[in-house]
């Protein structure tokens, strides 16, 4: 019995493997796409530093410059004034310009209002935002430090010069400590922030989309067999309809595992995207592939012919990818789409992989995996029901 299942499923896989489009779709395309996304977004191994124009003089300015350089996110160029900085951003020489007020140190000490201007090239919005946050963070620290200094200074009622001296040393030590801790904190938090997230996101999102696509390919194979009549030869052999269905869906499932596995392997080997711990990733990968097989079942169930299947598949996969976060990030979807996206395979899978990547064991991970398996069951049952009906025609 198991033997027959393996024989049939293996033939299905082999048939897919032999079609040229299959290898293009499952291996070449993931490879190219990974490269493309990787280069467009920056990958994770090496983040090209953004050119940053910095206007300002004095210690604080130098300190901000050093902080940005240190983060690896920015390559800082000093510029003399605001207008030249603005020009640099307009011409693309700099992605972001930070314009600090003149005589910043004395303004800080005199408690004058501070105005820091930041200009960002909108086309590099994502990463510009990171730099902006870095600077803002720094300025907030500066503000806090100033408050502390002022507080300290106001509270000063030194009776001796020595007392004054020691109080100042204390304050200085405190301020310096605060500055340093703050800047280190900022660095680590932001440097491992957004850009990796986006790339890892798309590696997963496209992976899911392609897994759905290969499931429809496999589903097409089943419809072909119904049309050719090979299914009937199988059923005239000692193969019960149930056994046949199990074999067909097993093949679809393995196809999904292969496709998603290809994405996971390429993106992690080439760009070091972490999908998470293998043991955490595997169940989600299996669940996603199963859900894709279930999708194959639904497509088989509603298609009368191969042409119809091809059209329906494309429409379904595109709509689900648009709604389910395979085209743009889930968080950016408008409200209605957020609700609809809960009906897509993409959303649940992407969310689950986001959690495995973070090493999280949030209950939502189990929920998402469970939903994917449930979707798989629904699709397989529906597809089986429909196929079984067609076997008898």
């Amino acid at each position: 019995m198991i033997n027959v299942i393996i024989v049939i499923a293996w033939r299905d896989l082999l048939a897919q493997l032999r079609s040229r489009s299959f290898l293009v779709q499952t291996l070449l395309l993931p490879f190219i796409l990974t490269l493309l996304i990787g280069n467009a977004i920056g990958g994770t191994r090496k983040v090209d530093p953004l050119p940053v124009a910095l206007v300002g003089s004095g210690e604080i300015s130098q300190s901000i410059g050093a902080l940005l350089e240190q983060s690896g996110l920015a390559k800082v160029h000093g510029l003399p004034d605001a207008s030249s900085a603005e020009k640099a951003v307009r011409t693309g020489e700099a992605t972001i310009a930070v314009v600090l007020p003149e005589r910043l140190e004395s303004k800080v000490l005199r408690s004058d209002p501070l105005e820091v201007r930041i200009l960002i090239d909108p086309t590099s919005h994502q990463r510009g935002e990171v730099v902006k946050q870095l600077v803002q963070g720094y300025m907030q620290q500066l503000e806090a430090a100033r408050a502390a200094i002022l507080g300290g200074v106001r509270a000063l009622a030194p009776s001796t010069a020595q007392e004054l001296q020691s109080t100042l040393t204390l304050i200085r030590a405190k301020v310096e400590k605060q500055f340093q801790v703050a800047s280190i904190d900022l660095q680590t938090k932001e440097a491992s922030g957004r850009s990796q997230g986006i790339f890892a996101y798309y590696a997963v999102a496209f992976g899911v989309m392609f897994t759905l696509l290969s499931a429809t390919n496999g589903a097409g194979g089943v419809i072909d067999e119904l049309e050719r009549g090979t299914i009937h030869r199988l059923l005239a052999a000692p193969v019960t309809p149930v056994l046949l269905l199990v074999s067909k869906f097993l093949a679809l499932w393995l196809l999904g595992v292969w496709q998603l596995g290809a994405f996971a392997i390429f993106s992690s080997l080439i760009y070091g995207v972490s999908w998470g711990a293998p043991l955490a990733v595997l169940p989600v990968l299996l669940a996603t592939a199963a859900a894709a097989a279930g999708f194959g079942g639904i497509i088989i169930g509603i298609s009368r012919s191969r042409e119809q299947l091809n059209t329906l598949s494309l429409v379904f996969v595109l709509v689900m990818s648009l709604l389910g976060g395979s085209m743009w990030p889930l968080e950016t979807l408008p409200g209605a789409a957020q609700v609809l996206s809960k009906f897509t395979y993409n959303r649940w899978s992407i969310e689950a992989f986001q959690l495995t990547a973070l090493g999280s064991s949030d209950p939502h991970l189990y929920l998402a995996t469970g939903v994917l398996f449930a979707m798989a069951v629904v699709g397989v049952v529906f597809g089986s029901f429909q196929l079984n009906r067609r076997f008898r025609q």
Binding site: V7, A15, R233, P238, R392
Partner: protein
Amino acid sequence: MALLMPTLETPRPFFLLMIYGTMLGVVLVVKNLQKRYDKFIAVHDVSFHVQRGEVYGLLGPNGAGKSSTIRVLSCLAKPDSGSVVIDGSDIVQEQAKVKRTIGIVPQDFALYDDFSALENLVFFGRLYGISGRDLKIRAQELLEAVGLLERSHEAVGTFSGGMKRRINIAAGLMHKPKMLYLDEPTVGIDPQSRRKILDLVKTLNASGLTVLYTTHYMEEAEELCHRIGVIDQGKIIAEGTLAQMRQLAGETAPIRLELREPLAASQLEQLKTLVDEIIAEENTLTLFARDPKDALSGILQMLSSFGAHVHHLELDEPDLETVFLKLTGRRLRD
């Protein structure tokens, strides 16, 4: 004793059929078979049996219900009523056993185009649990038998229609069935391939294989089949050996005439007085007369008195076509 008592689960007719089947060397017994597609009845009330070692022909025009009958006999569709017993096993209750007894060669090529001939055979063989050396040997044997050993590694998709037909047959034989169904195995191929297939069927039969052969070519039925059932509109309308069929046609042999223009109804009426029966299809007439040679001069005289021009005249031996024409008033092929 228990064996002879019908049990509750086995209704009496089934039981009797099984006894009948095993005792008389009958491999297949079809009794009052009916098959419907929704409301349309494709197979009305078909009964026949096939003896061990025989080639039984189901001869009928397009849409007669041949393939529908074969589908039921292949366990691909349940009979709506009636019963089928194959080698002593009921087709509904003992499917697993039945499936190992029969080999099927469907009307359409049921093969994987992107796999080689050998791979196709090996795959179908595996479904029956054949493996290892046996599997290889069996596949090679069959490839040789159908004359495709040299091309065994080529994809079936690149084969000609005739070659595909032959592989289609080989695929049905992998598990050494006792009985083979061949559903119109010569449709759409060249005379040479057809010859090969007919010879193959004869060889297989000579080696002991029982064959159920459907066709709408009467020549094939005449050449191959020990017994023939003529099927039309879901019913067997005549059955017997070729000799019995000829007798059924009686002495009557058809005279086929082609006229330049069709005859008027009144003229046909007049002509009818000279013969037993007339079938008129536009300007083609088929006349049945008890003694065709005697009747002929009178017929031609009458036609010339009508001023009708005879293009073509043919006197046939009574054949299956005649039987079919006589029974249905239609030709086997249109």
